[in-house]
Symmetry: none
Subunit: 204 residues, 4 copies
């Protein structure tokens, strides 16, 4: 068991602060969260926050950026869809569905990050924040598209729907399920059925 260290190297301290920020932001929201709460949660005093971040907003943007990166890594379609799974449409379909359901079921675990991400829409007029949000959705789509492109190239998919279109459909599906989840209106069954419908459309 590690006691709380009094002095930490900068790198580690920064991580501790970001983690605290995720906690505190998600427990209320960007505007309500107080720097002093974040500091307390991180076990430091307020000024330490400002050693690493120029402002509360800069910290929020960092949290957003990191969350975006982590989400996309975690989604990690490329880890699921191996060369192997692309040899055969049934394989591809099975693996894809498993992946999407896995993602959906991870919402519960990443509710905090999810909530912060949706908070950012309230601040969408801020250029820095807008950039992270748009970057995130674009990156998400960009990660998915080539997988479907490969499937088309390998003739296991008809190409009737452009890979880009499918990518944005997946993106959109996640957005809607996330939103419903945050409003406590998420239904696993609904999500499952609707996902199946969509897959039918992608794979027809």
């Amino acid at each position: 068991m590690m006691l709380k260290q009094r002095r930490l190297p900068a790198e580690e301290r920064k991580i501790v602060i970001v983690r605290a920020a995720i906690d505190v932001f998600s427990e209320s929201n960007y505007r309500v969260a107080k720097i002093s709460d974040i500091a307390a949660r991180a076990g430091v005093t307020d000024p330490m926050i400002y050693k690493f971040f120029d402002s509360k907003k800069a910290l929020f943007v960092e949290v957003l950026t990191l969350t975006s990166r982590k989400t996309i890594e975690k989604f990690g379609i490329q880890n699921f869809i191996t060369e192997d799974s692309l040899t055969n449409i049934e394989n591809f379909r099975r693996v894809l569905k498993k992946m999407l359901l896995t993602y959906l079921s991870s919402m519960r675990k990443y509710r905090r990050e999810l909530k912060i991400f949706y908070q950012a829409i309230s601040e969408i007029d801020d250029p820095d924040i807008q950039q992270v949000i748009r970057g995130h959705y674009n990156n998400f789509a960009s990660m998915i598209k080539p997988v479907f492109q490969q499937a088309v190239d390998k003739r296991i998919l008809s190409g009737r729907l452009e890979p880009e279109m499918i990518a944005w459909d997946i993106n959109g599906f996640m957005i809607q399920q996330n939103a419903l989840f945050l409003a406590d209106l998420y239904s696993e069954r609904n999500a499952d059925v609707l996902l199946t419908e969509r897959m039918n459309s992608w794979f027809s």
Copy 2:
């Protein structure tokens, strides 16, 4: 020549305040917007706001409630889907698509209301606000469901997908397009193609 009216009947003045609130909230967000800006925009003094609303939050909730009501009225599926259009699947499909596209294209006009609605997600922990949000999505689905139920009853729809499921699919589709729209990532072509795909699934 129109002078600023000195005295307005209470009901009208309340409407003026709510309109001002929509303007001001949407120009920044619930936390940033100032009561004094809303009052100025409405042409009243700050304390007047408190004549009509107990608090800033109460005003926000009112705006939310009214916006929800208006959105649902405007969507007005019952106005589109007449008895007549339910006699024949092609009619139904055509009218439905027209309605959904109309709604999509109205996003531009109602961007202000849309933005406020998404702001509420930052405040989802507040019970009053959560209630409006959930109520809105539920009402939206409840409005759509019976139309499809009728279609099933009238045998112009197979009933393979439950009307409730379709209702939530439509609901979700709107949520995702709204979110993309607010992030300036809305693509009319994408929306159109993906909507067509979904309709195929509902009507198969």
Copy 3:
């Protein structure tokens, strides 16, 4: 005896605040003085200060401006030097000396204002503050000059030294005596002797 009024018309309240500011600024200095001290002294809360002044600096500039105006009014050379006193050099000289000595002896009474004025030199890089300071010295000189010009016109003064020059000499004399006074190095006798010397030079 007047009890401290709870509610005061804006005009009066502003005066109370400015007076409090003079007290508080002079008891320490512009940077050390706290808005909350000024507010407390004025018998109001901090936000009231901001109803009248945009910032602490704005309040300081107001104090400076008012002090300048008051000082110049109080010096009021035009009140001393009447048509009458300009008929004859001895009269003029006597009245002038009396006036200057009066001013010098008023330093004690106006120490607070004096101190604030010299504080401004620490802030001379601020354009607003610089403007007040320069304006003050220029106004001071501009007030004195025409009196000596009249004396020259009326031939009771030789004009060997330009009126403008004399004006700046008086101005400078006050500056030096003020500075010494603030450093507790003021000597009435010295001031008196040196003033006599200068008058000899002006009137020769």
Copy 4:
């Protein structure tokens, strides 16, 4: 090629810090200047400052003291007024005038130090600072007085005006010109004319 020196003898490092302090204080003022800026300018870390000075104020007082000493040395009346120049009033007068004009024209070069000195007036309530200021003016006068005393002793000056009085007149003249200079109201011509007038009074 000069690399930043890693280790400097303590005395030199102290000098470097004081120089940096003069720069930084004069660029804003005592209250606004930051220790970290001074440290950065001196090429040391913040805590190093505290190796040499107990506090920011102590550093300011040191700067003041050194500036006072340097100013007085630089004024160095004793360097100008040699035995030789005291044999004859014309010589004395010429040399004195040259010296005072030299001092005046050096204001431009020593603006930084001058500015810091006037900043101290804002802090005149601090006993340490008051002591330096008063000490400075007193030393200044004390340096000048004996020169005129000698002139009186040598009968090249009448003694009508006591040497002490003349000393304070010179002192005051410098104070006023410094103040006008800092307010950007310095006029070389005015200074020259007024100085001549005063010399007439001292030498009559």
